[in-house]
């Protein structure tokens, strides 16, 4: 089976559930540090990524609605596009466009020269969130293995 764009960038090791968080910054810190612990950022340390992601969030929330956020940043220091998924133990206020609390985050960290790939990853994630069936599963599933299977399935959405 050939993996689609999202699945090929989102290995099981970067699917985290039950992330404890008291608020938005807490949740981002937890997700980014756990992602950093997998070695995904290469020589770039997680604190640098966190700082860049928080700076981007100050421009405007990346909460795109339906309980999902796509925090992201660009940094030349990562080896390639990095995607991670984090599910909060409890949904939190993320300043999302629709005002809904956020339960799921898709972190996207890419190099400045990978702009087209960055947009393609946003497209893949947005399609999943827009789809009622997948949005419902995302909202109700806290099992990391099931979620990882879902991400392999998502690339088939038209």
């Amino acid at each position: 089976m050939t993996l689609g764009l999202l699945a090929s960038h989102l290995p099981r090791a970067r699917v985290f559930t039950g992330l404890p968080a008291l608020g938005k910054e807490d949740l981002l810190r937890e997700l980014i540090h756990r992602t950093g612990d997998t070695g995904a950022f290469g020589d770039c340390d997680a604190t640098t990524v966190l700082r860049a992601v928080l700076k981007r969030e100050r421009v405007g929330s990346t909460g795109i609605g339906r309980g999902v956020g796509i925090p992201h940043c660009k940094t030349p220091s990562v080896p390639g596009p990095v995607v991670a998924y984090g599910r909060a133990a409890e949904a939190i206020d993320f300043g999302a466009t629709d005002g809904e609390p956020v339960h799921s985050l898709f972190l996207v960290v890419s190099r400045p020269e990978d702009a087209d790939m960055h947009v393609a990853l946003l497209k893949a994630i947005s399609k999943a969130v827009r789809d009622d069936y997948y949005a419902r599963i995302l909202r109700n599933t806290a099992d990391a293995d099931l979620l990882h299977d879902l991400f392999r399935d998502l690339d088939g959405i038209k």
């Binding site: 405007g60 990346t62 795109i64 339906r66 497209k123 947005s126």
Partner: protein, 91 residues
Amino acid sequence: MSATTAGGEVVVRNAQGLHLRPATEFAKLAMATGCRVQVRTDAGDANGASVLELAMLGITQGVTLRITAEGPSAGDAVRRLIQLVESGFVV
């Protein structure tokens, strides 16, 4: 004021394409116009006021957006949206 329909085309010039921040700026302006705004590309159609739908189009540099607006001052709405895209989404 009676509802009108207007349309126009613009090419996305900024190197980063229509990532989340530009999509948000576009959607905010589309909503502020009070018109029903549709965006069409070769990849499909999107509600211009929906960040999610705009992101789904995967718009990169060089893509042509065909914008239509329906509602009061539709021509002005299209003009402002085209200006936003041409400015590189600077507000």
